[in-house]
Symmetry: C2
């Protein structure tokens, strides 16, 4: 028995007790005749005292040698502190040490084990096991486990069965790039790691399991953008005999449960918005609705004058930045530069200052008079003190650019309060999206998503216009999850594969098992998957998923702590019948 108590639990009512504690030396204060040590474990900190009057000399000497992060065990008596510390739960007491055992020494750690550390990202990742000792990282991991546990409790309570689907599955070229696993027993053949358990969960519905969920790792071999991980975790769900409404209700219930249990926030009915509306109002299929700045379309009130840029634009659209009239000319020029960067790609920005006296001053005063600008203000909802920002161009592109501006403004104005939660269902996504590179339609969600029956007729005539029974849950401007009602009959699935450019042979080779399954009484079904990494980060009031992953990889897909990936033995390669063939 290494300890009778943990380091967060002793209080005044324990006075006089003989206790045994163990943990890490957080810090020592050595006044010569008196030494204090802060002893830390997962649960908290307890102050130890070594006192020249009461502590044997040899133990004083030993205590003087304790360095940061030494692991020690002490026995001693709980005594009342002379100077109490109201900021820590154990701040009323300290331990007068009677026995001190050094369980393990420590080199000086490469960065400080404190909430605000002096360690940079690379160093923290290399010594992740030390980074995890810091409260901020440790608490994130505990928070994540709570989110996962509450998810399981809720879904189990609702009759969902957690089923483990396989990790060694079959590679399919549709979608993102697979990680593959060479098979030794089937030489020359490969498994793939799942990008999601999509087909398996559909087969579980064909198998009558009715309500499935799983918290499961998924894998995508993509070039990593910032804050993407090659392995990530999904809350994966599927239900049979359901319509879209049933699924939205079930997972709105889950999200509401999490917000309540994990964040103490109660939210009633989540608003819903069609994809088209989201794009029109926010230029974004995952709008952050914690704040306004809805788009105002200005074509009708901005294309009647001699301003060619607007007159030739497909769309003239603006937002009103609340209180934005305080921006200086220099700040506004900075914004315009920001919008003109290649990542955003705007050609410029027109702006209108809404003065306190109700007058307007715009960057296009040559073309538009006070009456025009008043109309712009009405449409964008601008009030005195605001700044109207107007972009123009090709509709799709200009909406995206204005969305970037809207988010930037919200960040600058502090409108994105991480303690405020604004969930939103975005529904009626398009079934297909055109890919310029491959010159064909791709499935916007995935090839198993059901078109809306009323739009089926347009599949041949206007495929881009066909809407799907597909939906996303958006939380604070982040896509938390998405799903769809699936196709459950072979004919529609074959039609869909055909529209995605699969030959019947290829479709059979890749998904024959699913098409077969559809011939044996597949029920109507649908589902959803939430990204646990992202969900946890957002609920935790942060946006960086890496901080909520115990052992994340860097942007080259490397684990710098264990140094993986790495070379393997020639013997291993030989057994797998593989040769490495590096380009010269």
């Amino acid at each position: 028995m290494y300890r009778t108590h943990k380091n967060g639990e002793l209080r005044l009512e324990n006075l006089g007790q003989e206790v045994t504690l163990a943990g890490w030396v957080q810090k020592t204060r050595d006044k010569g005749f008196m030494i204090w040590v802060d002893l830390r474990d997962r649960y908290g900190i307890t102050q130890l005292i070594f006192d020249g009057d009461r502590t044997p000399k040899e133990m004083m000497e030993k205590a003087k040698m304790l360095g940061r992060e030494f692991v020690i065990q002490v026995k001693g008596e709980v005594i009342e502190r002379v100077s109490k510390n109201a900021n820590m739960p154990t701040g009323d007491i300290e331990i007068l040490v009677k026995e001190l055992t050094i369980l393990n020494k420590s080199l000086v750690p490469p960065f400080t084990i404190e909430d605000e550390t002096d360690g940079g990202d690379e160093l923290r990742m290399k010594y992740r096991y030390l980074d995890i000792r810091r409260n901020s990282v440790k608490n994130n991991l505990i928070f994540r486990s709570k989110v996962a546990m509450e998810t399981r409790k809720y879904l189990s309570g609702e009759g969902f069965i957690e089923v483990e689907t396989p990790y060694l599955i079959k590679s399919t070229p549709e979608g993102a790039r697979d990680f593959v696993v060479p098979s030794r027993m089937n030489a020359g053949q490969f498994y793939a790691l799942p990008q999601s358990p999509q087909t398996f969960k559909q087969l579980l519905m064909v198998g009558g399991l009715d309500k499935y969920f799983q918290i499961v790792k998924c894998f995508r071999d993509e070039d990593l953008r910032a804050d993407r991980q090659p392995e990530f975790t999904q809350i994966d769900c599927e239900m049979a005999f359901v319509e879209q409404e049933d699924i939205l209700n079930a997972f709105e219930g889950l999200t509401r449960h999490l917000l309540k249990e994990v964040n103490g926030v109660e939210i009633s009915k989540f608003p819903r918005m069609t994809y088209d509306d989201a794009m029109r109002k926010y230029g974004n299929d995952k709008p952050d609705i914690r704040f306004g700045m809805e788009f105002g379309e200005l074509n009708a009130v901005a294309q009647h004058k001699d301003f060619g840029i607007f007159n030739t634009a497909e769309l003239v659209v603006g937002i009103s930045v609340p209180g934005g009239n305080v921006f200086t000319r220099k700040e506004i020029d900075g914004l315009i530069e920001f919008l003109k960067r290649p990542q955003v790609g705007a050609s410029g920005m027109v702006y209108v200052r809404c003065n306190d006296d109700g007058t307007f001053k715009s960057s296009v005063d040559k073309f538009y008079d006070e009456a025009d600008l008043k109309k712009w203000a009405e449409i964008t909802g601008a009030k005195a003190g605001d700044l109207i920002c107007v972009l123009s161009g090709v509709a799709d592109k200009v909406r995206g650019q204005l969305s970037v501006l809207r988010m930037e403004m919200a960040n600058r104005l502090g409108l994105r309060n991480p303690k405020e939660f604004a969930p939103l269902w975005v529904v009626d996504f398009p079934l297909l999206e055109w890919d310029e590179e491959t010159k064909r339609f791709h499935a916007m969600h995935h090839p198993f998503t059901s078109p809306k029956p009323e739009d089926m007729g347009m599949l041949d005539t206007n495929p881009g216009k066909v809407r799907a029974n597909a939906y996303d849950l958006v939380l604070n401007g982040n896509e938390i999850g998405g799903g769809s009602i699936r196709i459950h009959d072979k004919q529609t699935q074959a039609l869909m594969f055909n529209h995605l450019g699969f030959t019947p042979e290829k479709a059979k080779e890749q998904f024959g098992f699913l098409m077969n399954a559809f011939e044996y009484g597949a029920p109507p079904h649908g589902g959803i998957a939430f990204g646990l990494d992202r969900l946890t980060a957002i609920l935790g009031g942060q946006e960086t998923i890496r901080d909520f992953i115990a052992f994340p990889k860097n942007n080259s897909g490397r684990d710098v702590m264990i140094d993986a990936p790495s070379q393997i033995d020639d013997e291993q390669l030989k057994e797998l019948c593989l040769k490495i063939n590096l380009p010269l």
Copy 2:
């Protein structure tokens, strides 16, 4: 809304209600003027009735066309059955159908969807999605999810944090063969899939997380014996500041909780036995203690006569088979054949019949008299009516052979009651075991297991005798899990690697990160891992793990349903800088 109720819930109190149900046609009975349909879903079966007097003719015609496994939706009224069925929960009522919708048709399934199916193993695996519709398989999956959920509830309640460790890690040649994953972003390098999260959970302890658990997939590329899977699931745990006793208590608590919540069985303190005792008493490190037949060592009472086979043997050892005297000569000859098979390898068997009148009759009457045999009976605990079976030879081998006989006897005598649960801790495992093939010692548990401090002195002089702080939990003769107290200082770990034949360079290359971590204040720690597949099967009263896995692989590691592994595109290989190099 596809249904107002599920198929297991309607009762007499629902009489007169208009309900909507959906599900699969389990069977139809067509009496011409009256048609009954059993409608099935995950929750049960409800009887539908179509009645020539009350059902419109077109609907009667439609009902006649329903085949097995059609998916239908019906609206109708709950009415009282004329002839009730007490064997089913919904047996008092039936639904007089008023609307019938065929949601999906079905081909005739390749086997019957019933508890006792006519489908062979291969067919059932190929159509696993149909197999899962059978109650037996479905209930196993539901049972498994319950075991997992109760595990999580218990461990969370005890302060364990579930942490997800990475799947894309580093290959290490120690232990079983890794599955590897070529990295595209780091050409020529490979990740490995974890055989267990061993080093990561130790690093979490170094990181101060104190109590960790995870239900996690693990991977081993081994030639598959019957009922082994290349991917399997572990309940993986680790604790800091603990001794062996703390871990045994914690996981005895978990097991007791599962037995109670899942099986309704209450078991108090689990017995413990050293590895040496288990081998001596049962010839097996995972003895089934639901029944006796403990080994009796007979050297002292069997090597004083002229029987050369015994006299030259290292060990003469026997068991008393209760009631075994009923076996005929032919049956006993069969047993001897069974023992002589190469898989067992015994050279023969001596037996003693214990007659009802207290006399003995043995196969070695030429050498041993009544007084000798009486002593054998005393030592093996034989009573009148029993059969004493005696083997002799090299101690290790003969114990293994007698263990096989003991289990065979227990099976034949029906002593292995699957509803009875006999857990057992086996402790004090050897640290190392000699491997004849590689002519060196291997770690019996793994290279991170701590030797017992009192045995450390023998590491150089008699390595095979060094005991480890390692333990297994055995349930009904199956190893459910195992673990150990770990090494937590760099010196001992280096010594251990040295004894396992690692050069310092190789040790550093493979496990440098762990050795480094030990220099920054690693706490004493230890852990355990349970095999969830096996545990679930045993608790479920079965021994075949495949029946508790949703989508298992066959003995060649293939998923015959999705046909994986399979060939991948040349483009994929090229991106990975790999060439397939099949032997000619």
